[in-house]
């Protein structure tokens, strides 16, 4: 579904991504892990072109999206993103957060958008919060709304950029549970995470990035029990 070839990203002289290649199949759940500064988030943000790659190519369903003529907006409609700090729209209610983009971008009628938004809120267990403003929600609730907001665009891929890193520990599970059930629906997911237990349980594959390179790429059982590279071994020793 997504093919990434020699993806590079520089900020000035700083090379954040030094050439990453991989392929992601339909319905696959990828956990992207690695030490901070390894380029995980940048990698993720290149996929929906929030960062413009310096070099290399990305194909989304056989269409190259890194060319000059790409309709970036069309790509982003199909790629949902969930941020570490939620970024809900604070001046809109929960329901309006979910209906805004479908109405604005996909030109859904208000009735359709509201119906769909309510279904999604029910799925993430927040049906009773539709008229609340984001400031009234806990971190875990905010992130579940953010997931629902991204899903409201009916994306084919979901990107998660450290979705639980800003949460209090007792709220991590409710968000991971929503992500787990999403994974079971066959959604293609790329998850930058520090939740090793979650990665082990839910991911089909683990990408280990370090210093802008894809150091290791394997099934979670194998990666966590028998990492091949020294860098992955060192990393796991620190976090597990």
């Amino acid at each position: 579904m997504i093919k990434i070839d020699e993806l590079k990203k520089n900020y000035g002289k700083l090379e954040v991504l030094k050439g990453i290649s991989t392929e992601i199949g339909q319905g696959e759940v990828l956990a992207i892990i690695g030490p901070s500064g390894s380029g995980k988030s940048t990698f993720l943000r290149c996929i929906n072109l929030l960062e413009t790659p310096t070099d290399g190519q990305i194909w989304f369903k056989d269409q190259m999206i890194t060319g000059k003529k790409t309709n970036i907006m069309k790509v982003r409609e199909n790629v949902g993103m969930v941020f570490q700090h939620f970024h809900l729209f604070p001046h809109k209610t929960v329901l309006e957060n979910l209906t805004y983009a479908p109405m604005k971008v996909k030109k859904l009628s208000k009735a359709e958008a509201v119906k769909q938004a309510r279904e999604l809120l029910t799925k993430v267990g927040l049906a009773d919060k539709e008229s609340s403003y984001p400031n009234r929600l806990s971190g875990g609730q905010k992130q579940r709304v953010a997931i629902a907001r991204a899903l409201a665009m009916n994306p084919e891929v979901m990107l998660f950029d450290e979705p639980t890193s800003a949460l209090d520990p007792e709220m991590v599970k409710e968000v991971l549970d929503v992500m787990k059930s999403l994974a079971h629906t066959g959604m293609t997911m790329l998850i930058v995470t520090h939740e090793m237990g979650f990665a082990k349980e839910v991911a089909d594959r683990v990408l280990f990035l370090d210093q802008g390179l894809l150091v290791e790429e394997s099934a979670p059982e194998e990666f966590f029990s028998n990492p091949k590279s020294q860098r992955a071994k060192d990393f796991l020793e620190k976090v597990l």
Partner: protein, 219 residues
């Protein structure tokens, strides 16, 4: 002290009739200033350098010269530049509107920059185009935060509108000055004009607070 307010009582309605003139100038100039101010602020935060330069140059001109001078240039200069004498009202709308746009654009620019960058990314990640992102997501949040500064600008505009006296518009200021000339009593009518301005500014202040409270509903 030798105050004789009774001497100007017959002239009070005449001074009060200046209120619509003042309000008209302020209202039209505020709309021009706000709309043009938003436009300029967007030029200022653009990544395209020449657009920044144009907007910054505009601001420097209108902030760098006296408002009276701008008003006089527009009013007295129009026959030479446009070949027609524009109405005093039109000159006032233009001068005050263009001038406050320069100040408002700086206020809005600051407001936009203060909105969390994540808001922009969240909107873009949903496929929302730049215009929608600005109008529906960034500006409402920016304006909520800068509302006190905008009310402040409106208050300044209300008081500075007294400058239209110079091009002969019959606003509150000019009328009170004329009454002074006719009665040989300047202190009383001008003090009365001051009272009118003060009341107008108080009304604006209260209005600003009401709007602010309504916009803070989401907090």
């Amino acid at each position: 002290m030798n105050l004789e307010f009774e001497r100007i009582i017959p002239s009070l309605p005449y001074i009060l009739e200046g209120i619509p003139t003042t309000l008209k100038v302020v209202a039209v100039a505020a709309v021009i200033g706000f709309v043009l101010g938003i436009f300029l602020s967007i030029l200022k935060i653009s990544r395209i350098k020449p657009l920044n330069w144009i907007a910054d140059f505009y601001t420097s001109i209108f902030r760098g010269t006296p408002l009276v001078l701008q008003l006089m240039l527009i009013y007295f200069g129009s026959p030479q530049i446009l070949g027609i004498q524009i109405e005093a009202f039109e000159a006032a709308f233009l001068a005050f509107g263009l001038n406050s746009a320069a100040y408002i654009s700086e206020i809005i620019r600051g407001g936009i920059l203060a909105v969390d960058k994540g808001q922009r990314e969240a909107a873009l990640a949903l496929g929302v185009p730049y215009s929608g992102m600005m109008l529906n997501i960034i500006l409402p949040q920016a304006i909520k935060n800068i509302l006190p500064s905008l009310v402040n600008e409106l208050i300044s505009l209300t008081k500075e509108s007294a400058v239209v006296t110079i091009i002969g518009l019959g606003d509150i200021m000019r009328r009170s000055y004329i009454v002074g000339g006719e009665t040989y009593k300047f202190f009383e009518p001008i003090l009365f004009a001051g009272l009118i301005y003060y009341v107008m500014v108080m009304v604006l202040t209260i209005l600003g607070k009401v709007i602010e409270r309504r916009m803070r509903r989401s907090d």
